[in-house]
Symmetry: C2
Subunit: 361 residues, 2 copies
């Protein structure tokens, strides 16, 4: 049962940790439902700040700023999973954090995440924890090469990773971890990567969007195409699997699940306890997008049902892709979404486009 005091009414304030593009699009979705937003972000001039009611610029160890932030909002959410634990402890003493701490604890650590998924009975790539050279040696004996060594924490978009083509590369790979606890993952032979974006409400209802098919370039998401090329059975499996993860975490909000399509079924690559880049297509494919679903969930509102009206291809605009905008603007099938970032650095996500391919197929 929902505690009615946990349901936010228009005029309430949603606190968002992180002021990047995800916070920005969450802020717009919140405003559409009549909520104010307050962004907490250590960096100056955050993209989300341009469309938020209020911004606090302070580091995550500023207890005074964190406390004032918590007191100014009704609920706290976040756009990224690597928030320091001490900051979360302090914030949670004052206001609810949604999604909750369990989702963060699991997703902040690749070894915890893989272990959680395996315990749920879901398939993942073979994995083993690696703290020492001896661990790595044992792991390589079990998993073999090619494989990939990753730091357990704080990795994204291919950073903190070292590929091992042969066991000889073990020393170099371990050195790349710079002493950080790591995890060795086996390679998976997959035919496609898909994402399921799913949301769980405060009352436990679950809604999922149609799976999208992801293509990467240099380790960064390039396109997501909807619908993904899947059988009906695969589509159902993907959504059921996301539902199991949401329920096991007693999750409230939107979650991204990346899956590999293999002959042995769907393998979970990773989960992100937040709105996800591969869900941006919902802004132009659905009546209620992933950002609004997240806001509805954390506000205790009913969710949309995830239905879509269009086939869409989302494409990220990375670095100098921003220079393509004048040409992209000429195509009436393209919706442009820019993030208000001043400087276009290589590899930096500057925006995305949603190209409408046609009505829902």
């Amino acid at each position: 049962m929902t505690d009615p005091t946990e349901v936010l009414t228009p005029g309430a304030t949603i606190g968002i940790l992180g002021g990047g593009q995800l916070g920005r699009m969450l802020s717009v979705a919140a405003a559409r439902l009549g909520f104010s937003t307050h962004i907490y972000e250590p960096g100056a001039e955050p993209p989300a700040g341009q469309v938020a009611h209020r911004v606090t610029t302070a580091p995550y160890d500023d207890e005074k700023a964190l406390t004032a932030f918590a007191h100014s909002v009704d609920v706290i959410t976040y756009e990224f999973e690597n928030i320091p634990t001490a900051a979360l402890d302090l914030l949670e003493a004052h206001r609810p954090i949604r999604p909750g701490r369990r989702a963060l604890a699991v997703s902040q650590d690749r070894l915890h995440e893989k272990t959680f998924l395996a315990e749920l009975g879901l398939q993942t790539a073979p994995f083993a924890g690696v703290d020492t050279a001896a661990d790595l040696s044992a792991a390589l004996a079990e998993i073999g090469t090619p494989s990939i060594l990753k730091t357990r924490r704080f990795g994204y978009d291919g950073k903190g990773q070292a590929r091992l083509g042969t066991p000889d590369e073990a020393d170099r790979a371990l050195a790349d971890m710079a002493g950080a606890p790591a995890i060795l993952e086996g390679f998976v032979d997959f035919s496609a990567e898909i994402s399921v974006i799913a949301t769980r409400g405060l009352t436990g209802e679950v809604a999922a969007f149609d799976p999208g098919e992801n293509m990467h370039d240099s380790g960064i998401l390039h396109t997501t195409t909807i619908p993904a090329r899947l059988s009906t059975a695969q589509r159902t499996d993907a959504i059921l699997l996301a539902g199991r993860i949401l329920n096991a975490l007693d999750y409230v909000g939107t979650l991204g699940v990346e899956l590999f399509v293999t002959p042995e079924g769907l393998l979970v690559n990773e989960i992100a306890p937040r709105v996800h880049n591969s869900g941006h297509w919902t802004q132009n494919g659905c009546t209620i997008c992933q950002f609004e679903q997240h806001i509805r969930a954390i506000a205790g509102w009913p969710l949309g049902d995830g239905s879509r009206h269009s086939d869409i291809q989302m494409e990220n605009l990375i670095g100098d892709d921003i220079l393509r905008v004048p040409d992209l603007a000429k195509d009436p099938a393209i919706a442009i979404h820019l993030y208000g970032k001043a400087e276009a650095r290589p590899g930096r996500k500057m925006g995305h486009i949603n190209r409408r391919l046609g009505p829902k197929s």
Copy 2:
């Protein structure tokens, strides 16, 4: 030809006069294209301020504030037509105002507007200017009753209007004008009211959305339904007519045209030199909505082509309608758009919903 120096690039700042819901939705559309916004609004806590980069709270006769505002932005637009002329003169000395002054001059004065439309060869209700009792007597002799006396300036949503059922009511109606210059308009026997939302770019290109059919309640727009029940010929007429108005005004931006459907063809009821309530459906019916079309036009960008993917019914949420939101949120076909207004007064526009009726019919 477009002067390339007049084309804004992402990062530029758009100044918006007026901080109500239209300014709010313009601000979100601008952010989506990577622009910052600066709202100028005399009232405290403007709805647009919650999603704008910057807000100036100052009256329209504060020359210092107006000058600073102008210097902080690259182009100036507005969400309402009744901006004092002196403020416009001052602002225009520093930055371009789009749409331009001619559109404002025409739409700020009902007599100028009707005269402009008649000179363009468009049909309107019969009308005559009324400054004195003698004028009203002469106008009534020509136009008859029932008719309606309206102030020439500053009227909206049925305010500043007096109906005349018989000529005996002339004195009372004139007293209602409180000495303000007025216009007498004859009643028109129409089968439907429709709106065309059309946009003209900096290079003169014109794009129009499908006409919507409006229903009013107590003088305030209640619903707009797309598509309107029109013949193909009527639909074409409506759009051509909007194009003539845009071209005659050398207009840059989005314009709303309200039309009466009559046995003698389409009559122009009124024009609004701005995004329009009857165009809110485009947010959920089109890839590029009326707000983004307006921003694209004033930024010198290419326009969308006005195509839509869905049939939509927009419904305004007025006053206590805001209490319906928890129920409306249960319907996955409904997109909710609230304006962040703290107090729900009778007749106050608190938000709107766009109900998806199905794919484009």
